[in-house]
Symmetry: C2
């Protein structure tokens, strides 16, 4: 069985944010990420794989799991797969996954203390967003609130760099962050805005039982209207001369400090 050009174009079009938004779907590629998807409770309408992939032990197991999860699995040629894959080496498998819907309000309310929620305001680099999701997965953050000016969570490079974290950490996207922060404060959250010029340092923060930590754009930091809602402004203590830290690295250090404080 061979895929029609039309069908290939359809799946290929999921590389565009507009189409992902319309269809509420995104694409994951490669054994590891597709396995993470299959082992999560995300809905997987379709998967495509090569004969060689299906013949491998790990591949065969994964296709079995995908079928059991209700995915419609189709065999495609290597050439067809490379036509709709984002990476040069899609490792023989690709799945179409349905996005999750949850409101910021639900997320904020359902996390049990010591609650740790991360808000991201205008993260521009896909690798940074992916790395932050991965870090939140490592530190067991309860969820991520993603502002509407950030790069799209379902961008293939972001999905890849989460290393599966996208299937473990609840992320609410497209948000009006000042509005969410006000909501979180009403639910008892303390709001920590990262700000390189702050004089409260990561190791000295008395993190609340309900903590919302806000990270900003790589160049401009957290925007003013959001920063004004801070209960505390927090910086990473500097010991050298560097002008700044990568936002993903700063996130790792602050989440580590939060977990140490509540350990």
């Amino acid at each position: 069985m061979s895929l029609t050009k039309n069908r290939i174009r359809e799946i290929r079009s999921l590389s565009q944010k507009k189409v992902r938004d319309e269809l509420n779907l995104f694409v994951v590629e490669g054994l590891r990420l597709v396995r993470d998807a299959a082992e999560s409770s995300f809905d997987i309408p379709e998967a495509f794989s090569t004969a060689a992939f299906e013949a491998s032990p790990a591949g065969g197991d994964l296709i079995g799991l995908l079928r059991a999860r209700g995915a419609s699995c189709q065999q495609v040629t290597h050439r067809e797969l490379s036509q709709f894959a984002d990476t040069v080496n899609a490792q023989g498998v690709l799945a179409v996954v349905r996005k999750r819907d949850e409101s910021a309000g639900e997320l904020i309310r359902r996390i049990a203390p010591p609650a740790l929620v991360v808000a991201l305001d205008g993260i521009a680099d896909p690798g940074n967003l992916g790395s932050i999701v991965r870090t939140c997965d490592w530190f067991g953050a309860g969820g991520i609130l993603l502002g509407r000016t950030s790069v799209d969570l379902y961008n293939p490079k972001v999905v890849r760099s989460t290393m599966g974290g996208i299937f473990h950490v609840p992320v609410v996207t497209g948000l009006d962050l000042p509005e969410c922060v006000v909501q979180a404060k009403e639910q008892g959250y303390a709001v920590y805005v990262t700000d390189p010029s702050a004089d409260l340092f990561d190791g000295d923060v008395h993190f609340s039982e309900r903590s919302l930590v806000v990270f900003g754009n790589e160049a401009r930091g957290v925007s003013g209207d959001l920063s004004r809602l801070a209960d505390e402004r927090v910086a990473i203590r500097r010991y050298g001369v560097g002008e700044s830290l990568n936002v993903g690295v700063a996130c790792g250090i602050l989440l580590s400090a939060h977990r140490r404080f509540h350990a």
Copy 2:
């Protein structure tokens, strides 16, 4: 004055590692990085900038500083600059910088306690290497020992992601790391190898007055022959379910732990 095609090709060829190695030169682009270079003690044989850049206040100041530092500064057209720049937007300025030479032995010996040296074994991603140099700059690490299997420090994407750290943190490149580690141990260094399966965690390490912290390849970690030389194997404590952390994030957390321990 216009540049010959030959000259453009020469400078453009510095995008290749082989040529950078032969000529012992590398290229930096943009106001901020070129200013970091000019404010460092790195030798800058040449710089190229557009008339518009030179006419801007910051640009004029920088050209003055470059001239004072002995750089031969040439005006080029925007079109010429874009022919040898790596980024689409080179911001009107580009400098050719001479690499630094220092031996690993010298570096190890000259750093005063509490000495913190980072060794990198097979870092593959340019963004990760750049981010680690930037993090080392923030935490004031004494230097970096870069193994010969890592991505080239002078790769334009690495240089950019260091955010100027390449001009502040001494990095020795192309090293046989097991040999360096043996040397460091002879000089009283304790060697901490990051290893996700270790049962000693970042916050519990009693860092020596002379610490060498080793990070490995993104997929394979630290190689066996290097790992065997460890005094301690160290992991980042996990609170969630993520399988791993980005190596740059792990570096930030461990360097922060080291500085906290010796504060």
